[in-house]
Symmetry: C2
Subunit: 344 residues, 2 copies
C-alpha cells in the first residue's frame, strides 16, 4: 500500500472525481456518454436512455430541523430530474434508495415518500426500484433518474461555439438567501426554543430552497420553438461555478453582464436584510436548479418570446478568459465559489 | 401530521418496502417491471434496459476493520451485477456514488476505485456516472447497475410452476462462516492488539465474504443449454429467505432436501470449529450471491452437465407449505432467518 496521503480537501470534489475517473475507457458500444456530464446516455436502438444519480446526506445536504420530510422527498426527486432535463431528455423512471436510523418512525418515512410520489406524479415518472436499509446514524438518500431522448438529440456541456449567447432560466440566488434565513431562525430557536420562527415575507426565498422545481417547461419551450441549445446544464452549485465548467468543457471564454442577471425582487429585498450583495447571491448561491444553456445568436428572437429566459452574456475565445462586467462598467474575472463540501 | 408511531422494526425491511410502495401505479408504457423484483426493466425498442441499485453503509453492511477497500469496491459492483444476472440479463453499465468523511485519504478512495474498476473489467461493464460527496461520518456506497436483455427474455420471481425443480448454483453458507471468523479475529485484536489474526485454512470462507463473484457463467450456461428458468433470483439474504420470496411471488409451496444442499468441504470444517450446523449456515447465511432458480422437470438432464448447479428440491401446491426434509427424514417448515437490519 502507498504511503502517500493527499487530503481530499486538497483536490476538492471535482478534482477528486477527475482523479478517480480519468482512466475510464468505455467498452460497450451502447455507452454513448459516460462520467463527466449531468447524466449518462445509453443507446438502446431507437431511443437513448439517459441516467443520473445523486447522493444526499443529512447534515451535509439537508437539515431536518427546518426541512419537512415531504419537501425533502419531493426535492430529492426533482434535483435528479433536473439533471435529466439538463441533457435535453425526458425523465421516465427513478430508483430511490434510503438509509434510515431507528429514530424515524414508519409514518415519518411515509411522509418522505409522499413527497417522492408527488414529484413522480407532477413530472410523470415511475418509481421502478431502490433499496431501503438501516443506518446507524443520519438519513441517507440516493436517487437514480432515467430518461429517454431521440437518438443524438441530447445536449452536453461541450458543444458551445464562440459567439453563442449565454442563457439562464428563472431567477437566481433565491435558494441561497432562503438558506440564510432558515439557518438564522434555527440558531435563534436553539438559543431560545420558545421563539417562533420569523419568516414573514420570506416565503419566496424559503420556497426556492425547500421546494425547487425542475425546468421541464423550458425544455418543452425550446423544443416547440425549435431552438437546439449548443450546450446545456443545470445550476446546482451556482452560476459562477457552472459557467466555468461549461467554458472549460467547450474550450471557450465568456463575458457576462451583472445587469442581465435574473434577480427576483423578493430575493433582492431579502439579501438587503442580510446586508449581502444580491449579485453575489445570484452568482455563487447554489440549489436554484435553473438551467444554464447556450444558443446560436440566430435564435435570439425566438428566446424573447419566453420571459422566463434571460440572456446574460456571450461566449468568447478561450484566451479572453471568463469575465463579468459590473453595473459600474468594470470587468472582473469569474471565480467558482460554489459549495465545496470538502473545504470546511 | 399523524400522531401514530409504528416502529420500523415492527414491519421489518420487506414490510416497510411493501408499505411504502403498495400504491405505485406505473405510468409509462416503457416501465415493464417496477419495484418488487431484483431489478427494474425498461423497454427501449429492440432491447430492454434492466436497472438495479444498492445502498451499502459502513457499520451496517461492511466493517472496514477487516474489509480491504479494494475488495469493498469490487464487491460493491459485483452484488449489483448479481441482481442484473438474476433477471437473466447482461450488465452493461454502472453508476457509483460514494459519501466519504475526511478520515479517508485520496489514496484510500483510489484503492476502493481500483476494486470497482477491476470488477468492471472482469464483467465487461462501463462506469458511466455517479456522485461523490462528503459525509460527516462513515463510508456510504450507492451503486446502480444497468443491463440489457432481448425483449421478454428477462426472468422474474413469479413465473415458477408446480413441479418445477428448485436449483442453486455453487455452494452456500461460506460467506456467513467467513464473517464469523473475521468477527472473532476482530474481537481478539481489539482485546489484544498485538495478536496477529489466525485465519489459516479459512481462506475459502473468508474469500466468499470479501470477494464474491456474480454467476455470469451460470446465466451463460443456461442460455447455451437453451434452458429458460421459470423463476430466477440471487441469494443475498440466505436460501430460506429467498425461497420463501420465490414461493410467495409464484404462489406455490416447496420441498427442499437437506442432503441436496451444496456445502463446500471448507465451509463444513469451518462450521464445526464454531460448533454450528453447516445446514443452518447454508439455509440462513447471507451474502453468497449464488443464484436460486427453478426449471421445468423436462430440463433436468441438461442441468446435470454443469456440476456448479444443484437441484435441491421441487415446487408444490401452495397449500402444502414450504418444507425441508432433513437427512434423518423429518420435515420442518422453512422460516426466514435472513439478515434483518431493523430487528437488532
Amino acid at each position: 500500500m502507498s504511503q502517500e496521503r493527499t487530503a481530499i480537501g486538497q483536490l476538492g470534489e471535482f478534482g477528486l472525481i477527475e482523479h478517480l475517473t480519468k482512466n475510464i475507457e468505455l467498452k460497450n458500444a451502447s455507452s454513448i456518454v459516460g462520467v463527466g456530464d449531468d447524466a449518462a446516455v445509453i443507446d438502446h436502438f431507437g431511443k437513448q436512455t439517459v441516467i443520473s444519480t445523486d447522493l444526499l446526506l443529512e447534515g451535509v445536504h439537508f437539515d431536518l430541523m427546518y426541512t419537512p420530510l415531504k419537501h425533502l422527498g419531493y426535492k430529492s426527486v426533482v434535483v435528479n430530474l433536473s439533471d435529466i432535463y439538463a441533457m435535453n431528455a425526458t425523465p421516465t423512471q427513478i430508483l430511490m434508495s434510503i438509509g434510515i436510523s431507528n429514530r424515524f418512525s414508519v409514518e415519518a418515512v411515509a411522509e418522505f415518500y409522499e413527497g417522492v410520489y408527488a414529484a413522480c406524479e407532477k413530472y410523470g415518472v415511475d418509481l421502478v426500484g431502490g433499496d431501503t436499509t438501516a443506518s446507524q446514524k443520519g438519513f441517507i438518500i440516493s436517487v437514480t433518474a432515467i430518461g429517454e431522448v431521440a437518438p443524438d438529440k441530447f445536449v452536453k456541456r461541450d458543444g458551445a461555439q464562440k459567439g453563442d449567447l449565454v442563457c439562464v432560466s428563472g431567477d437566481l440566488g433565491g435558494a441561497y438567501v432562503g438558506l440564510l434565513f432558515l439557518e438564522r431562525e434555527k440558531k435563534i430557536f436553539l438559543e431560545a426554543p420558545g421563539v417562533q420562527p420569523d419568516l414573514e415575507g420570506e416565503s419566496y426565498v424559503v420556497g426556492r430552497l425547500l421546494k425547487p422545481e425542475a425546468r421541464k417547461d423550458i425544455i418543452e419551450f425550446l423544443d416547440d420553438a425549435e431552438v437546439r441549445p449548443t450546450a446545456l446544464m443545470d445550476i446546482s452549485d451556482g452560476l459562477s461555478s457552472e459557467i466555468l465548467h461549461l467554458c472549460k468543457q467547450s474550450n471557450l471564454g465568456c463575458v457576462l453582464y451583472e445587469e442581465k442577471l435574473p434577480i427576483a425582487e423578493a430575493m433582492r429585498n431579502a439579501a438587503f436584510k442580510f446586508e449581502i450583495d444580491p449579485t453575489a447571491c445570484a452568482l455563487s448561491g447554489g440549489e436554484d436548479y435553473e438551467l444554464l444553456f447556450t444558443v446560436s445568436q440566430a435564435d435570439y428572437e425566438k428566446l424573447t418570446l419566453n420571459e422566463q429566459i434571460s440572456v446574460v452574456g456571450y461566449l468568447t475565445e478561450p484566451e479572453q478568459g471568463t469575465h463579468i462586467v459590473t453595473n459600474g462598467g468594470s470587468k472582473h474575472t469569474i471565480t467558482a465559489q460554489g459549495w465545496n463540501h470538502y473545504k470546511k
